[in-house]
Structures are given as structure tokens and as C-alpha cells.
Homo-oligomer: 392 residues x 2
């Protein structure tokens, strides 16, 4: 059972733990309390939809590595990680969702026993799930500890992907190809949006070419008509209209690794404005792919994109991409670098990005995006969905 659930070799997990401990030493941190579910997964393999209660992994520079969560989730930690039972620790159920006490107070007791009362403890202070109250419970329960913010410490270690990680992302890439094949088969005017999304989910979880689909960290986003001017709206039961454009912001996942890919679909005969922007965005993507190579910076990719847009009279006031990999809702981004003008991060081989030259206008929008691996001589797309305005 454990062997089937474990997604990486024992050696790969150990290498990750070593990298993290080195980074902790460099950051003067004795112990790190990890709340980000993707960081917990990446470091130990822990996988489960249990992040709606307080839970974490704790790693120290002197050898500790343990999972801490709700009692009923301990079995999941046993089944998905290589941790010994003594390193799977839990809190009683009456700590769940009550104002009277907090799971982090119980963790503080464990940390005291382990000798961390007056140590330097790193926190992921800007992670979803690490609530203000979680932090304040730790502060008051461990008054002699020194706390510091290391939100991105592990996320940065995840930036360069291993061979297996790239393999998983390419499998997710195959799955998203299957999703768009299904979309092109079934989408038609009069179809309710939820019926289209039902097909997207079905294709995305059934998988493609032998690869199953895991849940993606975003639900399918559809922006049709005026709603295409808004970025993050979800479906209802309105029908798709003839001669209307809609963006599909979709992604597939395999073993928690993602391949996002957005396209714009037009049912009917697209007006010139769609054809114009299609041409421009295609040029932007072609240019960008060539630039996803070691030594270039995030800012250079963003600047090139902005310049191409400007040449044709368009502009975009938000970042044009972000790193991707393993993730959990609500986000499939890694939250380290951003493809924007002030980010001087230098690219390394096997970093992976969602390049997102999406444009939202006042009453319509256009999305055509690619997930890209940084290759030694330029980028490699992780999926091969036809790169064009989809017309049906």
C-alpha cells in the first residue's frame, strides 16, 4: 500500500530534506513549522484533503522531522509518508474548530518536550492555512522562542524540478490535451456552462493516454461574454451563446503536479478583434519560449512581452506568469518568483512556469497560455494543445 502511494524514491525525499536543512542553517533557523500543504507533500509525501484543519510538518536542523495534525488524519500520514509512527503526532479532536483552545498550543507542548522552547523557529507567515491565530497561539505558548518569517523557504527549494517531477508535469500535460479535445468535441451554442464543465472535469480526471487525472488546484474557470472581462468567475447554468467568445482557464494534474493551459473558444465567426489579439499573443508566446533559458531573468521575459504588446498598441498591468509544480487549492502557483518587470530572479534549467499573457479588456478577454520548462537552449512546452483561437 505505501509503495503504491509514495510518489518519489526515498532518496529523492532525503535529498529534499537535506536541501531544506541547508537552507535553514543559512537562514539561522533551528526548526521550521510547515503549513503549506504542497510543502508538506514535497518534503514528506503527505497527501490528503485535511488542510481544512490545522496541521503541519516540523523539520529541525538537528534531525527532527515529524507530521502533526488531527488524530483522524494520522492514518493518512502513515499511508502516504515514510515517517515512522513515533514521528506522526496528533492532537485530540476537541481541539478542532473551537475558540477555547488551539492545535498550535498543543504543538507548543510537543516542541517544549523536544527542547525547542528557546530556539529559533521559522514560520510560513503568509501561507494560506497558517492563520493569525495559529501564529499568536505559538507566540504566547512559547514566549522564549524566537520566531521569524520564512514563508518561501521551501517553495524556493521546489523551483528546479527533478526528472520525475518533470515527468509528472508532462503527464498532466497529456491530460490537459485530452481535456481540450473533449471541449472541441462537445462545446456548442445552447449547451449550459455547467454541462461543458462536467465534460471538462470528466476528461481531466479520467485522464489521457494512460495517465490518470488528479484534482487541479483551481476549478475550471470560464469567462463568457462580458464575464470574460473578469478573471476568476466560475460557471453557472447559463447557455453558451452563438457568436460569443469565452476563455477557458484550465489545468490538469497528475500526482499533485500541474500543467495549466488556457485557451479562448469562439462559437461562431470571431470578429477581427479576436483575430488581431490571437496574432499578437502568438508572437508573444513564440518570443517568450525562446527566452526561457538559464541566465535570463523573470524581468527580461516580462519586459519582452510588454514591448511586444506595446508594439501593437496593447498593454497589461499585471504579471504575465509564475512558477508551477505540485500544489493544493486554492493555487497552483509556487508563490516565489513572478514574471514581472521588477523581478530579477535568474532562470535555471528545469524551472517550470505558467506563462500567462492573458488580457482582460473592459467587456471581453482573451487567454492563451502555456506551461513551460526552462531548457538549456530555450523553453519546452509541457503540453501540446493547439496554440490558437479555438473556433467552432
Amino acid at each position: 500500500m505505501k509503495k503504491e502511494r509514495r510518489r518519489f524514491s526515498k532518496e529523492e525525499y532525503l535529498a529534499r530534506q537535506l536541501k531544506v536543512r541547508q537552507s535553514m542553517n543559512a537562514s539561522n533557523v533551528d526548526a521550521l513549522i510547515i503549513y503549506d500543504p504542497a510543502n508538506m507533500f514535497w518534503l514528506t509525501g503527505y497527501d490528503g484533503w485535511s488542510f481544512y484543519v490545522h496541521q503541519c510538518v516540523v523539520i529541525s536542523t538537528n534531525g527532527d522531522l515529524f507530521w502533526y495534525g488531527r488524530g483522524i488524519d494520522a492514518k493518512g500520514a502513515e499511508l502516504t509518508t515514510d515517517l515512522k509512527l513515533k514521528n506522526i503526532l496528533s492532537y485530540p479532536d476537541d481541539y478542532v474548530m473551537t475558540p477555547e483552545k488551539h492545535p498550535m498550543e498543543h504543538l507548543a507542548g510537543i516542541l517544549k518536550e523536544k527542547g525547542f522552547s528557546n530556539k529559533r523557529i521559522g514560520l510560513e507567515k503568509d501561507n494560506y492555512y497558517f492563520s493569525a491565530r495559529a501564529a499568536e497561539s505559538l507566540y504566547s505558548s512559547l514566549p522564549d522562542a524566537t520566531f521569524s518569517d520564512h514563508t518561501g523557504l521551501i517553495n524556493w527549494q521546489r523551483a528546479v524540478k527533478s526528472e520525475t517531477e518533470i515527468t509528472y508535469m508532462k503527464r498532466a500535460g497529456k491530460v490537459i490535451e485530452g481535456v481540450y479535445e473533449r471541449v472541441m468535441q462537445v462545446a456548442e451554442p445552447g449547451m449550459r456552462k455547467n454541462d461543458l464543465v462536467a465534460e471538462i472535469y470528466h476528461a481531466g480526471v479520467k485522464g489521457h493516454q494512460g495517465h490518470y487525472g488528479d484534482y487541479a488546484s483551481f476549478v475550471p474557470l470560464i469567462g463568457a461574454g462580458e464575464e470574460a472581462a473578469a478573471c476568476h468567475m466560475t460557471w453557472n447554468d447559463e447557455p453558451l451563446k452563438n457568436n460569443e467568445g469565452m476563455f477557458l482557464e484550465l489545468g490538469a494534474a497528475y500526482a499533485r503536479y500541474h500543467c495549466p493551459c488556457s485557451r479562448t473558444l469562439f462559437l461562431g465567426t470571431p470578429p477581427q478583434q479576436y483575430l488581431d489579439i490571437e496574432k499578437v499573443i502568438n508572437e508573444c508566446i513564440e518570443n517568450a519560449i525562446g527566452m526561457f533559458k538559464p541566465g535570463n531573468t523573470c524581468a527580461q521575459i516580462s519586459d519582452n512581452f510588454t514591448a511586444t504588446l506595446k508594439k501593437y498598441g496593447y498593454e497589461k498591468n499585471n504579471r504575465c506568469g509564475y512558477p508551477i509544480g505540485c500544489s493544493y487549492p486554492p493555487d497552483w502557483g509556487e508563490r516565489t518568483m513572478s514574471l514581472r518587470g521588477n523581478d530579477q530572479t535568474v532562470l535555471e534549467e528545469n524551472m517550470t512556469f505558467h506563462f500567462m499573457p492573458a488580457i482582460w479588456f473592459d467587456d471581453w478577454g482573451f487567454e492563451m497560455t502555456e506551461s513551460i520548462r526552462v531548457g538549456s537552449n530555450g523553453g519546452e512546452c509541457l503540453s501540446a494543445v493547439p496554440r490558437k483561437l479555438l473556433v467552432k
Copy 2:
């Protein structure tokens, strides 16, 4: 467009806002910063998958009510709420996911302009999404304000449902009936788990009896074989086995309102232990339904359940249910009451609960649950999925 997207009457939103302001007055809070996406939705209608960046709704006792979020999401606020444009405020894109500055610092500037520098500001300190850093950014940017924790203030206002809310939950109940019909049609030994989940998603989003399906706040959870001893594991591509039991923890949603419903499915001939527990849990549910009436307490329902279990030699060391309604990932619970022995909350008519007498043993588990409305003479189930061990 707005009319189609708005889910409740203007009067219902105003009544909700009035209730919240009364509760704020009683709690000595001048302004409340609302991070919980379900609270934002319930109070203003705002609906979008944008909670992966910092955003909130701010309400004050002296009349303020505004949405605050990322610039590219302002259009979504315009399309889904009745807020005037002057009450849709946003932060520039370079505040997104950077350690250099924080969206809450920008909000602090807005709050200063509006005269809240030295006011009493309520926070949802234990909400997902309200990170430690969000709180600390506010503390340092508004040093003269008085902050206090009001995590559940709005959640408690949501406890008693309106007629329209009950209608939506019953529609979700219809959808989950359709999901289980599909499960019984397609599940068979040898089917990959992901293929079963693909059908579950398809049925859940396509909807049933004319009602569409929204995304549920949990993904489908399947525990098969030994994994049924763990509560929150998700699918992979292993095949379903003959003569194996699995729990399905599923829920459907309509317009963000949920109806969870779990069942256990056995492919083959169930051993006696499944039949035994089926009988016991059925008795527990029958008893509980009668007790979901005004005047009874959460503790009484829990105690009755525990006593019934004990009579047959079983025990359960975790809560047996929680309130439900509108929600966003990662949780479909309301996080106020819990059905457990120390919760003396008195039930009121039209409160709604997921009664969850699930039992996890060392190497198997059994789930059979109901979503229940508190009725004047006892509970009313929100869906009519056959209440039995599903055998195929």
C-alpha cells in the same frame, strides 16, 4: 448580467448586513475585516475563485461596506455584487505574492483615509486565508487601532437559514441523489478509482432534475480497503477490487450551498462486520433525526449517538457533525458549533447540519451520513439517497 448572477434579493442582503452590524455593536467593534470567502459571499454576493490572493470585505457600524482585492478581480466584484463602483477598491498588481510589501498595508492606507486609524477593528484571526502576515501588516500599519478576534461573528449569523437558502440546499440534495444513482450504475470491480471519480464529478456538475451543480468545497474522497481507515485521502488510478468496501465522502453544491452525503459501497458480498455496523448507524441516524428540533443541544445529539454506539460496543472519539451552508474550499462546514459532548449550543429551526456518524477502524471504515435541517418537530433530510450499505 448582474441579475442573473445575484443569488438573493436585495432585501435579503440588507437584512444580513443589518444583523451583522447589530452583532458588531454588541461586540464593540467599529469595523470588521472579512476574509472568509463564504462570509464575503453571504454578505455581498461576491463570488469568484480569487481567494488565492489577499482580499476582503470591510463592513463598519457607521455605514461602510466595501470590497477590497486585486485589481483584476474588481470586475468580478462589479458583476456579482450590488456594490457601487466607489465601494469596489483594489490594490496594484505588484502587491501580489511578494515579500516586499503586503496588500494589507495598502488597505491600512484606505482605512486611515476613512477615519479608522484609532478605531476598534475586528478580524477573523482563525480563518484560512487570513494569514499571520496579513494580521501583522495591519498591526504595524495601524498602530493606534485596537484589534480583536471575531472569527465566528458572521459565521454565527449564517447559522439559521432563510427559505431561499434551504431551497438551494435541497437543490444540492437533488444533485447528490443523481451522483449516487450514477455511482450505482457504473461502479464495478476493475474500474480505476479515477474513472469512478470522473463519473462523480460529471454527475455532480451536470446536476439532476433541472438543477445544475456548482463545485463542492471538498473534492470527492474515496477510502477503499485499508485506506478506508484514513479519512481524507483522495483518488489515484488503482482499480476497485471485488469483495472490498469503500466509503464515498461526497457532497453536491448549488449556488455555493452544499448538501454533503456519504455512503459506503461494497462490491461483492459484504462480510458481517459491514452489516452489523450498517444496522447500528441506521439506528443512530433514526434517533438523531428525531432530535434535530429547536431546544435540543448539540451535546444532546452527540451524547445520544455515543450512547447508541456504546450499546453495541462501538466508540468514536471525534465529533459527529457540524453546521453546513454556503462555503468555499477547503471546507464545507460553517465552523461554529460542533456536534460533540461539550457543545451546549441550543438548536433553532432551519439550522442545517451534516450529521456524520462515520467510524474509522484500524484497517477499514464505514461512512453513512445525512445533511439535516432542524425542523419544528424533528429533522428533515436534505437529500433522499438510499440510506443503506450500497452493495453491487
